[in-house]
């Protein structure tokens, strides 16, 4: 009798225990798809890295089974001696299936790590390993066509400047930064000559390079000082090409001193917040749709090594679900300039205006595009110099 009762009780408790196990969150559910994010700067830099971090959050929202693990400040100044393969090894050990590296600086490390972990998918932002044939099959490249965003920035700057002097706070010199500065210049030139019908000689466009994507004391030029110098020498609109907010901060400072100046930050949609009196708008990346596409392909087993250069959705360049590149006009942009900008954006979308159409010359006078020639993606991607008419260094050599 007692034996039977004991057996019944044992079965009862076993069932209760198993019931608890089954009720435990996640039990029986599929394991989440973990993806890793290596950020070059802090996740809350109000710039490049924050735009990527928020794209990761976007993916988590859109794909309930996806889970992001991020490591920020992956740069030589903050994490001396730490290599990309080391961080990747750690992530792979945690069960991560796809890793996104968000800096051009991580190119070699990502390539090496991809070769070491053929079962893991890698997405290198802004790189070109697939294009050059150096990538293994598990490595893809993604970039946004920010050239359009920068054209809009240059356009807004030229529509606003009173002195005809536009400054550009440049990061380091490479193909990517050259084409972005050149795009800003082309946008400004178009507004100046075609919309405002002003003398081309009266427009000055100058870039000063700080040496990296953000300030590293003792290594780069101080972007605050560079920005101050621009404004002190008569430049009244400053376009930022770096990942942090110095251009806007200094513009606010100069505004307090009574100067009529403006700034255009970069990368992050929220970069104008708190700077309504000086911010003309921000060309920004919206990485969410691109991330989602690659992660879904990875989950579905449809991964392909691809080099993707995603552009704006011309129906609505600020659509968070479809447009990889956008431009958010700032409160300091005048209504007339905004109206002209809207028309310019529309013309870019319909291809009525193509600023990468010849004749265009490099800074040293050599031909970049012959008369009537339209630049191919490759020609724009690998720009060798700044364009004729721009001031500033073309090369770091």
């Amino acid at each position: 009798m007692f034996k039977k009762m004991g057996l019944a009780l044992s079965i009862f408790f076993m069932l209760v225990f198993m019931g608890f196990l089954c009720l435990r969150p996640g039990f029986g559910a599929e394991k989440p798809f973990q993806f890793g994010l290596l950020l070059v700067g802090p996740y809350n830099d109000h710039g490049w890295s924050q735009a990527h971090f928020e794209a990761g959050e976007y993916v988590q929202k859109k794909l309930p089974g996806a889970k992001m693990i991020y490591i920020d400040k992956v740069n030589p100044a903050d994490r001396q001696g730490i290599t990309i393969p080391q961080l990747v090894d750690d992530m792979v050990e945690k069960g991560i299936k796809l890793i996104i590296a968000n800096s051009d600086d991580m190119k070699d490390g990502t390539r090496e790590a991809a070769k070491m972990h053929p079962d893991i998918h890698f997405l290198h932002i802004s790189g070109d390993d697939v294009l050059t044939g150096k990538a293994s099959g598990n490595l893809s490249n993604l970039m946004g066509r920010m050239e359009y965003g920068k054209m809009m920035a240059g356009f807004a700057a030229a529509m606003t400047t009173k002195t005809g002097k536009i400054g550009y706070l440049g990061p380091l010199i490479n193909e990517e930064t050259r084409r972005l500065v050149a795009s800003s210049y082309l946008g400004a030139k178009y507004a100046w000559e075609k919309v405002l019908k002003k003398d081309p000689k009266e427009l000055t466009f100058k870039v000063t390079w700080i040496g990296f994507w953000f300030n590293i004391p003792g290594v780069t030029a101080d972007p605050t000082k560079v920005a101050q110098n621009f404004f002190n020498t008569g430049y009244d609109v400053l376009i930022s090409g770096i990942d942090t907010t110095e251009a806007v901060v200094v513009a606010k400072q100069k505004k307090q001193e009574g100067k009529m100046v403006w700034a255009i930050p970069y990368d992050y949609i929220g970069a104008c917040e708190g700077a309504s009196d000086v911010c003309l708008g921000v060309p920004y990346f919206n990485w969410g749709p691109g991330y989602l596409e690659f992660i879904q392909a990875s989950i579905a087993g449809k991964w392909k090594s691809n080099w993707i250069w995603m552009g704006p959705d011309w129906k609505n360049i600020n659509d968070p679900d479809t447009s990889t590149v956008g431009f958010k006009p700032g409160p300091a942009l005048s209504s007339s300039a905004k109206k002209a900008l809207d028309s310019f954006i529309s013309d870019l979308g319909t291809k009525k205006v193509n600023l990468f159409e010849g004749p265009l010359y490099y800074q040293d006078g050599s031909i970049f595009l012959k008369d009537g020639e339209i630049a191919t993606d490759k020609k724009i991607w690998y720009m060798e110099q700044l364009l004729k008419g721009m001031l500033g260094q073309s090369s770091a050599k």
Binding site: A221, Q228, N232, V250, G258
Partner: protein, 326 residues
Amino acid sequence: MAWLDFTILMSSVVAGATPILLATLGETITEKGGLINLSLDGSILLSAMVAFAVAFETDNLLLGFAAAAIVGALIAATVALFSLYFGQSQVAVGFVLTLMARDLAYFLGNPYSRLYGSQVTPLQIPVLSKIPILGQIFFNHNPLVYLSMVLIGFCWWYIYRTPMGLRLRSVGEQPRASYARGIDPRRLQLFYAVCGGLLVGLGGASFSLYTKPGWGRPQGAEGTGWVALALVIFGGWQPLRAAIGAYLFSFLQVLGIYLQGWLPSVPAQVFQVAPFPLMIFTLLVMYQAQKETVSQWVGDKSWMKTFVEVFSGAAPSSLGKPHHPE
């Protein structure tokens, strides 16, 4: 146009030198009393973060400055207490504190990263700001810049022209003799370490509330503390010369931006890094200038003598050697 460029250049130099000047003056006072506060780099960062956070939360710049000065003073007091009263190595304590304060600044300051906050507003000095060239260079800034300039003269006057300054120098040179004359070297050294720390804290605050408004990682103040420590040596432990060093460093930094445009064939990185090796080179020259063999070699060559004199300077005799009465 050339004059305009020169004026703008020098005005930027004067404005940009403020934080490093305040920190250098603070450390000069501390070291003049015989104590080395090696925590400057972390201290500047933590006070910069605290200044921005307090000013942001309270919308009161003065509170921001006050909080930063207190932070600087507390860190300096910690170095002084451990060294003077607990017999610990001031170099080790200072070094540990600089690392701790730096990491603490990054950790605690994370919620304030890249936010737009209050900034010090400019204040032209009437009449003086209208003086051609000089007015633009020296009197067209904000109260903080004026304070830093006034402090150069004040520190010099205090150290070399007042009885209190004489006592400060005496504890830095001969603490035993001072003790014999009824001065408590440890109390005095603690007091001047706190005073120096207050200035270092103000230097940090002037970074985040004026020179590089805002907070972030990196803030841009990193490395300044080490440069300030080097400038104290460059200045031969004299406030006037240390101030010249601070302006020289600022000049080299601003010049780098101009040179990029003037000499496009030279890699931009050269100008960015140039101030640091130049500072090391100057320290090397100073070290050599103090050698007996060099002074013998110079002999009566008048121009060389002047050159060597400019670069020579001796540290307080008891610098880094705390006095323990027992």
